[in-house]
Amino acid sequence: MNDAAQQSVTVWPLVLFFASAMGLVGLMIGLSSILGGRHNEKLGNEPFESGIRPTGSAHRRFSVQFYLVAIIFVLFDLEVVFVFSYAIAAPALGWAGYGAFIFFLGMITLGLIYEWRIGALNWAPKAPRQMRLEAIEINRARNLRGESTIDAGANHSPTLDQS
């Protein structure tokens, strides 16, 4: 009805935009694949024809520590967003707002203390004593068993369950 008519009026530029965007991209890729020449050479298929040769795979393993650092960074970085938005409205919010904000900062600080105490801020955290002892045990067992068990150990150390 009226509602539907109004909707179609506001929607058609979006549809047009979508269609023209798809059309333009399709035209660019389609034309160049039809008109452009094709050559199948060893170096020609590499990502950077004139740059450094790619080595290895992108699926590399890297230290889980990077992930932890990234997460902590995002957490405390997001806090700044709240600080800024509070700063804009600080006079209007008055003392009640100040109290609430101090509470929020206190919680963040508590989180920081927690992370500090569990060793998340150290690049090579000191594991709890029990875990260190277990790790030594696992390494010893692995070394004793030799090369053949490395795959099983890398997956999920089954020795833990037996101990």
Binding site: M107, L110, I113, Y114, R117, A127, P128, M131, E134, D161
Partner: protein, 475 residues
């Protein structure tokens, strides 16, 4: 007045702050478990002064009423039992035990806020606050790849369900210009958009509740999660989300829609049949309980489909049944198995002849199974009776048929477990359960079994309580 009304969630919040502070300085398992269970008990006591103030609107987001307080009590009891089970379960683990209690408390806080929400925004915050700590809890036995796998499955699928939920919220806001339950569907415009939105909301909630076409994650996650986490997932998160769904359907004008009514009936019908059929040939007790929870959610959904004043009573009674029996059943599994002293003992063969060496646990599990099957003199019978009553009262004969067929199928697999418990014992030496932590858990579980039988014989006090705890409709 408003502060008194939300005393219980405030106490839980304070406990969370306290436990995070404490864990930075001491990692004593006993202190953490003690601190969190004390907080939960205090929150339970905090419901008593709150009951004088209800019903009261606390900010536009929450409405605290008798209904909310009743479900808060159920949630706090379930969380307390989960904490006791966790104490027994993680006692033998050597590292990082304390964080489980923080996650458990956070999820409990989310559940507490869910049962009193009157606004889609608070509903979403509550659901996320329940779900996000649960990812961690499900994957908590992280050295066991099964636990990690189930945590990952739950996280990804749950994220998809949340996306559905959010999109539904956006559509409903577009159609009705408000996110308050009582305003959605009030004005007649944009009804198709509104129905699409409600449909997506139902998809998101049905996923979290593992109602039948959205149930596929349930058995895997229940099986892989550590015992106390499965217990929490099967009780607290289910109750909280279902209470929010019930409040939405009872207070929002959009729920009057006939099409939505058919949708709920179809979901209930499919859940009852699928859950029971899939449970028939299960040999893993945790998976069996997962499928049976799908069927039980179908029974409870019958009450929502029926609607009317009796529906809230039926849901309340059935959820009290479901909570007590699920806590007991999952609790026994959790006590019997601890992955840090061996593999998780959830296969039915692990329970063959349990009565010979752990008579208390075996009798508890048997009582819970009989109650889940709905046999008289247990509380389960009362719950099933109420579900049948509301279905017959509103003439939903398809659902009545599914309920009867489902219960008949249920008898087979529940009683099969019971027979196995009392069968001949032929296993090797089991985990010794003489530690004090396990003894506390066993004591709590046998108390639950006694309660299930006592309420089965004399259910009047609980039914009265549920009848008093009505949903308040804000003006």
């Amino acid at each position: 007045m408003q502060i008194v009304a939300i005393l219980a969630p405030l106490i839980v919040t304070a406990t969370i702050v306290l436990t995070i502070g404490a864990v930075a300085f001491t990692r004593s398992h006993r202190i953490m478990a003690g601190l969190s269970s004390t907080g939960l008990v205090l929150a339970l006591l905090g419901l008593i002064p709150a009951s004088i103030t209800v019903p009261i609107q606390v900010t536009p987001l929450y409405i605290v009423d008798g209904f909310g307080l009743f479900y808060m009590a159920l949630i706090l009891i379930a969380a307390l039992i989960s904490a006791i089970l966790a104490y027994a379960y993680f006692e033998t683990q050597s590292d990082y035990r304390a964080e489980f209690y923080i996650l458990l408390l956070c999820a409990t806080l989310g559940a507490l806020s869910l049962v009193v929400c009157s606004h889609l925004a608070s509903l979403f915050i509550g659901i996320e606050l329940v779900s996000v700590p649960l990812y961690g809890m499900v994957a908590y036995a992280y050295r066991d790849s099964v636990s990690l796998e189930s945590g990952l499955k739950y996280m990804i699928l749950s994220g998809v369900a949340s996306a559905f939920f959010l999109f539904g919220m956006a559509l409903m806001f577009a159609a009705s210009g408000s996110l308050t339950f009582t305003h959605i569907g009030q004005n007649p415009g944009g009804s198709q958009l509104l129905l699409l939105g409600v449909g997506m909301l139902v998809v998101g909630l049905a996923f979290k509740l593992s109602i039948a076409p959205f149930h596929l994650w349930t058995p895997d996650v229940y099986q892989g999660a550590p015992g106390p986490a499965s217990t929490f997932l099967a009780t607290v998160s289910k109750v909280a989300i279902f209470a929010a769904l019930l409040r939405f359907f009872q207070t929002s004008p959009v729920a009057q829609n006939a099409w939505l009514h058919v949708l709920i009936i179809a979901l209930a019908f499919i859940s009852m049949l699928v859950g029971n059929l899939l449970a028939l040939r299960q040999n893993n007790l945790k998976r069996l309980l997962g499928y049976s929870s799908i069927a039980h959610l179908g029974y409870i959904l019958t009450a929502i489909a029926a609607g009317g004043p009796l529906a809230a009573t039926a849901v309340g009674v059935y959820f009290a049944v479901y909570i007590l029996t699920s806590l007991g059943a999952f609790g026994v599994v959790s006590v019997v198995s601890s992955p840090f002293t061996g593999t998780e003992a959830s296969d039915l063969s692990n329970y063959r002849g349990l009565f010979r060496h752990q008579p208390t646990l075996a009798v508890t599990l048997a009582v819970m199974m009989i109650s889940l099957a709905g046999i008289p003199i247990t509380f389960g019978f009362i719950g099933k009776f109420y579900a049948l009553l509301v279905a017959v009262n509103s003439g939903l004969w398809w659902l009545v048929a599914a309920l009867i067929i489902g219960s008949a199928m249920g008898l087979y697999y529940y009683l099969r477990v019971t027979f196995i418990l009392f069968g001949a014992y032929e296993g090797d030496a089991q985990k010794s359960l003489t530690e004090s932590s396990s003894r506390t858990a066993i004591m709590a579980l046998s108390l639950l079994a006694a309660l299930v039988i006592a309420l089965g014989i004399y259910p009047t006090p609980l039914i009265d309580l549920v009848n008093v705890a009505g949903i308040a409709v804000p003006a």
